[in-house]
């Protein structure tokens, strides 16, 4: 998809709903997953294991998108990928069914970035603040409860039966709140997510998360300056730029 610039001058007063990507943008999946893998004492590189697990995510969603797999919750996709990654790391025999089910729920226990909970509370005073994640509702709800993320509503690909970046996900949020796409601000650390939202007519806020993929992963993310309506260093900076 081509880099899509802002459609017109950004005006925070036209925004009514803030929709947040979650994995990477609001929570630090890599450190959280690595910590749980490490605690199992399996003798593997826990960061590499976390990266491998996460790397299976886009191909798994693509199988749903292509129709090779029917609609499947991320919990179930995470489990398929986990079984495969355990095999590839040569430790499949080390984890029984109960241990795998518990490790799979590590995605329900991800820690938020330090600014996230406070910034959501600030943003809520002026906007309706919701998730728009490919994570399933149960996962997002458990995570929010544990991490103190007081979303106004938990929306998910599961509601729309379409994963991001399918347009149905972004437009689904607009339909839920009966707003024009220009009244929704998609907030994410991932340029492809934001470009897909912009293509639907939504406004976009880039949230920089330089450590999402660890110290070596930085270069993957930085978007061209001015590519999105707002370019922020974290969620508190987003709140400040929105005047909250």
């Amino acid at each position: 998809m081509a880099e899509t610039g802002p459609l017109s001058t950004f005006d925070a007063k036209q925004i009514r709903v803030l929709a947040f990507d979650v994995f990477g943008t609001v929570v630090d999946w890599r450190t959280s997953i690595a910590r749980e893998v490490d605690a199992l004492g399996l003798g593997v590189d826990a960061e590499r294991f976390a990266d491998a697990w996460r790397a299976g995510y886009q191909p798994a969603m693509q199988r749903v998108r292509s129709g090779a797999l029917g609609w499947t919750k991320i919990d179930a996709l995470h489990r398929m990928i986990l079984d495969d990654v355990l095999q590839r790391f040569g430790i499949a025999a080390r984890l029984d069914e109960a241990a795998r089910a518990d490790l799979n729920r590590a995605w329900h226990r991800l820690d938020a970035w330090p600014d996230a909970a406070g910034a959501i509370a600030r943003l809520k005073r002026r906007y309706t603040v919701v998730t728009l994640s490919n994570g399933n509702i149960g996962l997002l709800t458990a995570m929010a409860k544990r991490a103190g993320l007081a979303w106004d509503a938990v929306l998910s690909a599961e509601v729309f039966r379409h994963y991001k970046p399918d347009p149905q996900a972004y437009l689904g949020v607009c339909e839920v709140f009966d707003i024009e796409p220009g009244a929704m601000l998609m907030c994410a650390a991932h340029p492809d997510d934001l470009r897909a939202a912009a293509a639907c007519g939504c406004r976009t806020a880039y949230i920089d998360r330089p450590l999402e993929f660890g110290p070596a992963g930085r270069s993957r993310h930085a978007p061209a300056a001015g590519a999105f309506d707002l370019d922020t260093t974290d969620m508190n900076d987003l709140a400040a730029q929105l005047g909250c």
Copy 2:
């Protein structure tokens, strides 16, 4: 449907998710709607108007259930009923499009019963506490924000594309949270809602709201003693009976 008694001894420790009916159970729709109608100075009996508006609700959902109408959000059903009620009260010419749209959103501005917000905060410490309402997500989210109802997640017939008391609504909540029906407690002021949940294997808590239909409406509601797992006088009593 026959009065369905508890399936087995109720044990609060087996419950993981509390799903709340909203209109009547958590919020006082009649007083709130009547107040907004009254403020318009239309010279009608505002309580009678509120009752007529609400009375159109079940027949409207039945049109969706029967297939006569495609899937329709409650916001749109409320608007169809409003147009009809204005006609029947002989005041259709008094409200233009903008005034009707605003009055229709009165359902987003319903006041909670005085115990609701505090009880939800108590219950959340031990359980996942969500809505299961026929109201649409946008309506429920706006209402929760205004009334300070800090749900863990906003679930709605809109997510499942089935209105209560269709079993798909109750079982949909169980699927979202990956729980057996016996781990869900349906909480409502309406015996028919609870009976439908019990028929799906869910546990049930009756919440008494003697004033839902005003001082004259009392007799419509009281269920037979012991008909449900818990029989409570309000949401704080529910929290107390659950040991929260």
